[in-house]
């Protein structure tokens, strides 16, 4: 599991973390991502870096489903602290081959306690 804890654009950690997640998926690993703390800002709608001249990594999250990265866990407490709700996040989906390619949401809101359980189940945990 890749744990994302940094806000986007201010540092390169989100972008370089995303690169690891995509490579992990290409290596047929069971990739899941967790977004906690400022990491939840990576998924907010309407990010536009044109005026900064910085490559915008936000659209890449939309492509994660195509790489079979379909489990994006977002900590509810982190959203609350930042005045955000699910509706403020990008609408990220994946297509379920098992159910005639039905489109399903990738973002799963979890409580801190649930996330704690999830972390315990991982083989490898990397922080970005």
């Amino acid at each position: 599991m890749y744990v994302n804890r940094h806000a986007p654009h201010g540092t390169i950690y989100p972008l370089e973390g995303l690169e690891v997640a995509l490579i992990g998926a290409a290596f047929d690993q069971d990739v899941s991502m967790a977004f906690i703390g400022d990491g939840v800002f990576q998924l907010t709608k309407g990010q536009d870096t044109a005026d900064l001249g910085i490559k915008n990594c936000a659209p890449t999250y939309g492509a994660l489903g195509d790489y079979e990265v379909t489990k994006l866990y977002v900590e509810q407490e982190s959203l609350d602290e930042r005045g955000l709700e699910l509706n403020d996040l990008m609408n990220l989906t994946w297509e379920d081959e098992q159910e005639d390619w039905a489109e399903k949401p990738s973002i799963r809101l979890v409580s801190r306690a649930q996330l704690s359980d999830l972390l315990e189940q991982q083989d490898v945990i990397l922080n970005f």
Partner: protein, 130 residues
């Protein structure tokens, strides 16, 4: 008005190197003067010509070099901070027995006195990145 700018973070890793560049351009666009841009801490990594970003991304080092060329800006990399982090010009490479250098065009390596002078000579000293 005369400005000095201090850049303390490496390119790409932290946005501070971008903000410093955009601010410096805005100073020039407003008709003010840039006395010096001083690179300290990890900021010294702004001054290596070995940087090769992805083609669809901005080239932070080249941007500085072009600014220096077009507006005759003094880009100074701190020698002590640079040595620790592997940034060298020809003289430094020779003095330290290294087989090559990596400083980018438009940058020069000098001492911390250049930062003190930048603080004295300019009306404002702006610091970017920690």
């Amino acid at each position: 008005m005369k400005f000095s700018v201090m850049v303390n973070e490496g390119p790409y890793t932290h946005q501070a190197a971008d903000t410093a560049y955009h601010f410096t351009r805005a100073v020039l666009d407003a008709g003010h003067e840039i006395f010096r841009v001083f690179f300290y801490h990890d900021g010294v990594h702004n001054g290596t010509r070995m940087t090769t970003p992805p083609q669809d991304d901005r080239h932070i080092v080249d941007r500085w070099s072009e600014l220096a060329h077009d507006h005759d800006i003094d880009l100074v990399v701190c020698v002590a901070a640079a040595q620790r982090r592997g940034i060298l010009d020809k003289d430094e490479a020779k003095r330290n027995g290294k087989d090559g250098d990596n400083i980018a065009p438009g940058f020069r390596i000098s001492g911390l006195g250049q930062l003190i002078e930048a603080g004295i000579e300019a009306d404002r000293l702006l610091v970017f990145g920690d």
